[in-house]
């Protein structure tokens, strides 16, 4: 795998009448990468994908595919293929005819098309389904046909617009693994649009988080989850506790924040926020520990248990620190069953502890 760019977006903007759907986005998607665009509906991720496909043209900015400017080139002249959420299989053609369509458009001979179509069907495990009509297939099978129809063209980049959205949960999990396997097998750059954060974390090499037409953060799943750069990202990906306050001291590696109830908390500053700035501290619930005895020599806070939800692998607790602050604490059930700290009841008192490395100070 090289590090050359497959797709580059520079200051790409798309306006529909008065609405800015995509706002000055910069992206550099590498060759062979599984790249996801993640965000709530209406965040501009699908519009961005459609601009890369050529169904929409940017109002401003530059799109390069493989180093060539394509922002004014229509879809049928671009070397990318799309898998649609609704699959968009041609209902009046057989499965094999659907898959052959792209090759026909590229003027492949009949003799060349047949083996390629067969290979594509085999790749998505539908070897004997070529003669059927799309309507005769299940949703998952139609999804595979759509994938085969796109991949048979060996595009430079494959665009996937929430392709698993219409499938049930179990099938979706299977297809996630299969998609990842296929992507590694064919080595084609995948750009995957989804609003499902778990899906993005599972499959992606890198994720771009978008909201309201803006690109908020690009990074590996670990970076996005462990080091979100904004409150929105921390909130959208996984669960997080948020404590609001002001920066009181800039230090290295930790800075200090005075929370609204007067508590002094330490954490890692993300970005630049001078003393006095309003900030939010974000801590993931699984990074918190609740113990009966206050641990020695570390920062800890007295808390009262408000809610206990036992879900087998975890116990999910809500604890109150003060009148205004409650925290979610997820305790993994990996302790000895005799350990007193493994069992909690409402109204019990305890101590919440966390490593300040895991407390992120984000611009409010």
């Amino acid at each position: 795998m090289t590090n050359a760019s497959a797709v580059v977006l520079q200051q790409v903007t798309k306006r529909f009448q008065n609405v800015t759907a995509v706002d000055a986005i910069d992206l550099d998607i590498r060759d062979g990468e599984f790249f996801s665009m993640l965000g709530p509906s209406g965040c501009g991720k699908t519009t961005t994908l459609r601009m890369i496909a050529g169904f929409e043209f940017p109002s401003a900015g530059v799109i390069s595919l493989d180093g060539v400017h394509v922002e004014k080139i229509p879809a049928h002249l671009r070397n990318v293929n799309t898998v649609f959420q609704s699959y968009a299989l041609f209902p009046h053609m057989t499965v094999a005819e659907n898959i052959a369509f792209g090759l026909e458009m590229k003027n492949f001979s009949r003799a060349d098309i047949k083996p390629r179509v067969d290979a594509a069907l085999a790749m998505v495990q539908l070897a004997n389904y070529g003669a059927r009509r799309p309507k005769q297939l299940s949703g998952g099978q139609q999804q595979r046909v759509a994938l085969a129809r796109a991949l048979v063209n060996r595009p430079k980049v494959l665009l996937l617009d929430e392709p698993l959205g219409a499938l049930d949960l179990k099938l979706r999990k299977e297809m996630q693994i299969e998609l990842k396997r296929l992507q590694q097998e064919v080595g084609i750059t995948f750009i995957y649009v989804t609003h499902d954060q778990e899906e993005a974390l599972t499959m992606s090499d890198r994720i771009a988080v978008m909201n309201q037409g803006k690109l908020l953060q690009v990074g590996s799943p670990t970076e996005i989850y462990e080091r979100p750069s904004s409150r929105f990202v921390a909130d959208f990906i996984g669960e997080a506790n948020f404590i609001e306050g002001h920066v009181t001291e800039i230090g290295s590696p930790y800075c200090t924040v005075r929370a609204s109830n007067g508590l002094e908390l330490k954490g890692i500053l993300q970005g630049t926020s001078p003393v006095g700035t309003a900030v939010t501290i974000a801590i993931r619930p699984e990074k918190l520990r609740l113990t009966v005895q206050a641990p020695d020599n570390v920062f800890t806070l007295a808390a009262k248990v408000e809610q206990v939800v036992y879900i087998g692998s975890d116990t999910r607790l809500t604890v109150r620190l003060s009148d205004t602050i409650t925290l979610d604490v997820w305790e993994q059930n990996n302790r000895s069953t005799l350990d007193r700290d493994a069992y909690w009841q409402r109204d019990e008192a305890g101590f919440v502890t966390w490593n300040p490395d895991n407390a992120l100070i984000l611009t409010a």
């Binding site: 496909a53 050529g54 169904f55 229509p74 879809a75 049928h76 002249l77 990318v80 293929n81 799309t82 649609f84 609704s86 968009a88 299989l89 041609f90 209902p91 009046h92 369509f101 792209g102 458009m105 590229k106 129809r149 796109a150 063209n153």
Partner: protein
């Protein structure tokens, strides 16, 4: 298990529905008789031996055989079929393109166009006929005064007039089939490298074909049956079937008229059934 008492209303409602059903059945038959008795009589009296075609005096196919030798009637039939064929082809092509434009694009005057398209369907046919007559008189007059070329109304003015009202029906039918069309299919085809022309011929047209054929059959039937507009726009010297039938009825009703009417009825019904069938194939 707890037994829940069920109100025992079934037998009574059965009694009531038996009487109601009989009444409904009677009503249905009366409706059928009201609608179809005249047609049945028409068909029946095309086989009678009675020269005036109003009494049943015995069975004969003589009137149909006479039709086969009636060159004036055959001529009128050929003219009518030719008008229907040409008008159908022109109105189907134009109507389909118009329907595509109306469904796909937002352009200036689109709303006005939308309203105007329904005009030929809703205005009285006699108004449309007079309007066309006035138009041709005016246009030919203008042409003559400008260039000296003298034109008269003939079969082509009928064809133009039929196209004028058939287009509206084609547009309505084709638009209905475009309503359910998934635009993503065209995007998918473009994505796979198809240019706009290929997309139209390989994806769009095959998928809306049932609507196009349905519209064409409807146009053909309407053109075939049309009397009022044909009567006003045909001019002397050209003979059309409905006009010819009307002309003969003015003199006397003979079983020959019944026979030709029966044939027209069968052709029209066949075409309507075909159009319904083709449109149903869509699903």
């Amino acid at each position: 298990m707890i037994d829940v008492p069920v109100p025992s209303s079934r037998p009574r409602s059965d009694n009531r529905s038996t009487a109601g059903r009989r009444l409904l059945g009677l009503h249905t038959w009366l409706t059928y008789i009201f609608l179809y008795a005249p047609i049945v009589i028409l068909v029946l009296f095309s086989f009678t031996t009675d020269t005036f075609g109003v009494r049943w005096t015995g069975f004969t196919l003589d009137w149909y055989l006479r039709l086969a030798r009636d060159t004036r009637m055959i001529n009128a039939t050929i003219n009518t079929l030719w008008v229907a064929l040409v008008a159908t082809i022109i109105s189907t092509v134009c109507g389909t393109l118009l329907a595509l434009a109306m469904e796909r694009y937002r352009f200036r005057g689109r709303n006005g166009m939308d309203a105007l398209l329904y005009l030929p369907i809703v205005i009285p046919e006699i108004v449309m006929a007079l309007a066309l007559l006035a138009f041709f008189s005016f246009a030919f007059g203008l042409l003559e005064s400008l260039t000296g070329i003298k034109l008269r109304m003939n079969i082509w003015t009928v064809i133009v007039s039929h196209v004028a009202f058939c287009i509206s029906f084609v547009v309505v039918v084709v638009r209905a089939s475009l309503k359910g069309f998934d635009m993503r299919l065209e995007e998918a085809a473009a994505d796979l490298g198809a240019n706009p022309q290929t997309i139209f011929w390989r994806i769009t047209l095959p998928l809306i074909m049932p609507g196009v054929i349905g519209g064409a059959l409807l146009a053909f039937t309407l053109s075939l049956d049309d009397f009022i507009i044909s009567f006003f726009t045909v001019g002397p010297g050209t003979n059309l079937l409905p006009v010819e039938v009307y002309g003969r009825v003015k003199r006397a009703i003979t079983p020959s008229i019944n026979a030709i009417s029966t044939i027209m009825l069968l052709v029209s019904m066949g075409l309507v059934f075909l159009s319904q069938f083709v449109q149903r194939q869509r699903d």
